[in-house]
């Protein structure tokens, strides 16, 4: 597989009882690119993200990450190795402050032992200082610096989405998987989110996999788009190609009567 391919899924199949949610799905994400997955409701987009991130089942097929087979790796190990995702339904830690939420993101790479914490060793203090610096920097990146000390549950919906992004960034990913990050945001917020995703891609060099319904956003920022329909990939291409693809138009608008 070429050097530039970060994530390659081949022949993914997921079945829930009698429903074949995904069948023979091939999907690749190129390094440093924004790759989007679109498709009508129930097409299997979230099922695909769950399989990739290890949070859902994957019955057949293989998932290769940088050439390594991670098909059966548990979710937390995938996260540890740099594959970090956000969720369609907000999953902020409501029992923590905004800053602590982001600090939790550093879990895997700022490490000190249980005993360091209990005895408050210098390693604990230096670790905590580093975690705090990283968290503050990420909060600044998404524009939430002013809210650092307040409880996460008190943030507005849009800000909670940004908080999720900051937490994901704090986990130091190389692959960021975003599951409908614009859901529930107004137009202005969606625009800001799009700019932020582009910045994460350009400034931080992150590879991004994006599932989204907002077509304006998708067409504006994606480098490549895969279209899922009834659990199968029906088209892959640049935004321009996808917009003209007759199969995609049919999937979204339905077939002509005659």
């Amino acid at each position: 597989m070429p050097e530039s391919t970060l994530l390659r899924c081949t022949g993914l199949g997921v079945r829930f009882g009698g429903v074949q949610a995904l069948s023979q799905v091939d999907f690749t994400a190129e390094k440093g690119r924004i790759t989007s997955i679109i498709g009508p409701n129930g097409a299997g987009k979230t099922t695909l993200l769950n399989a990739i991130s290890g949070m859902g089942p994957c019955d057949t097929g293989t998932i290769l990450c940088l050439g390594q087979d991670i098909t059966s790796a548990p979710a937390h190990l995938r996260a540890k190795n740099g594959m970090v995702r956000t969720f369609q339904n907000l999953e902020v830690f409501s029992n923590m402050s905004v800053l602590e939420n982001v600090m939790t993101g550093c879990h895997t790479f700022v490490r000190y032992s249980f005993l360091d914490a209990v005895f408050k060793t210098p390693r604990y203090f230096s670790g905590e200082r580093r975690v705090r610096e990283i968290a503050e920097a990420q909060l600044a990146f998404v524009g939430l610096s002013d809210s650092a000390a307040i409880p996460a549950a008190e943030l507005s919906f849009g800000s909670q989405r940004m908080l999720e992004l900051a937490r994901a960034l704090a986990a130091d990913p190389w692959l960021l998987i975003l599951d409908e990050p614009a859901a529930g945001l107004n137009m202005r917020e969606t625009k800001a989110l799009g700019d932020l995703i582009v910045r994460m891609n350009r400034e931080l060099g992150l590879t991004i996999v994006l599932v989204e319904h907002d077509m304006d956003l998708i067409m504006r920022i994606s480098h490549r788009i895969s279209v899922l329909c009834f659990g199968e990939i029906i088209a892959v291409g640049s935004p321009g190609e996808i917009q003209k693809n007759p199969k995609v138009i049919t999937a979204y608008l339905g077939e002509d009567e005659d």
Binding site: P74, H76, K80, F87, N95, T104, C106, H107, T108, V118
Partner: protein, 322 residues
Amino acid sequence: MDSFRKNLLGLAALMALLAVAPLLLGNDYYLTVLTLSAINAIIVVGLNLLLGHAGQISLGHGAFYGLAAYTSAILTATLGLPVFLGGLAGVLCAGVVALAIGIPTLKLHGHYLAMATLGFGLIVYIVFNEAVGLTGGPSGFTGIPRLSLAGMELTSDLGYYYLCAGCLGLVILVALNLIDSRTGRALRALHTSEKAAQAVGVDIARYKLAVFVLSALYAGLAGVLYAHYLTFIAPASFGFLYSVELIVMVVLGGMSSIFGSVAGAFFLTALPEFLRAFENIEILLFGAILIVCMIFLPEGLAGGVRAVRARLFRRAKGAGDA
């Protein structure tokens, strides 16, 4: 670090209060109540980590408490081991059993986890009752030696009370330090969203197991202190009702506050003793007080204190402005 200093200050205040309490209450009976309160508080601090911070319920902590008490009792009274060794073995026994029980049960969630731990508690309770040769059965186990430290038997009740209070201080310090660390954040994270915790790389199975074992070790420490304090133990002290009582202490004290839980433990251990005066309606009053507490302090004693402090602060600020 700011919160660290605040925690130490709170702990110092609590320890000072515990130190002067027996002097103010100069009465052997009160001293017993205080000692038992401190012992209960040790378990409750562990349960607070498990339930209040990691969000995992256990209705079987009475069993860990009992396992440690019986292990230490059997090793010291029956086999004649030094109390120090017996106690250590008791605490370890609770931890090892928690490890063995935790691996399969912590895969369960919510009510199912409650059921599994409840079942475990009942099984242990039945064993205490039925293994008469080992435990003395329902009539109890007598003749447990008092704790001795460095060859000196701790005979004075006041000394024993200070030992329990010291242990309580230590377990509180460990718990507070843990909460304010990456471990604590991982626990609080898996409480609210297991998915999101995994997404940032938290091995949730490992953390659940670790906090379960830690809380069992706390219960074990309390069990050992209990057995060598009363020198007599019986299965009735370690049953299902006791496990529920512990949960009530955590909830009444305030789920997310260690100090609140300690207050809950002291309050609920002492309350029945003071209600004894009302003989026939004792249980009725106990229930009524609990209901009133939960209506007016939905976030527990700790939440109540926070609310009062916030109101005073506002008033002070208002006076300052005017």
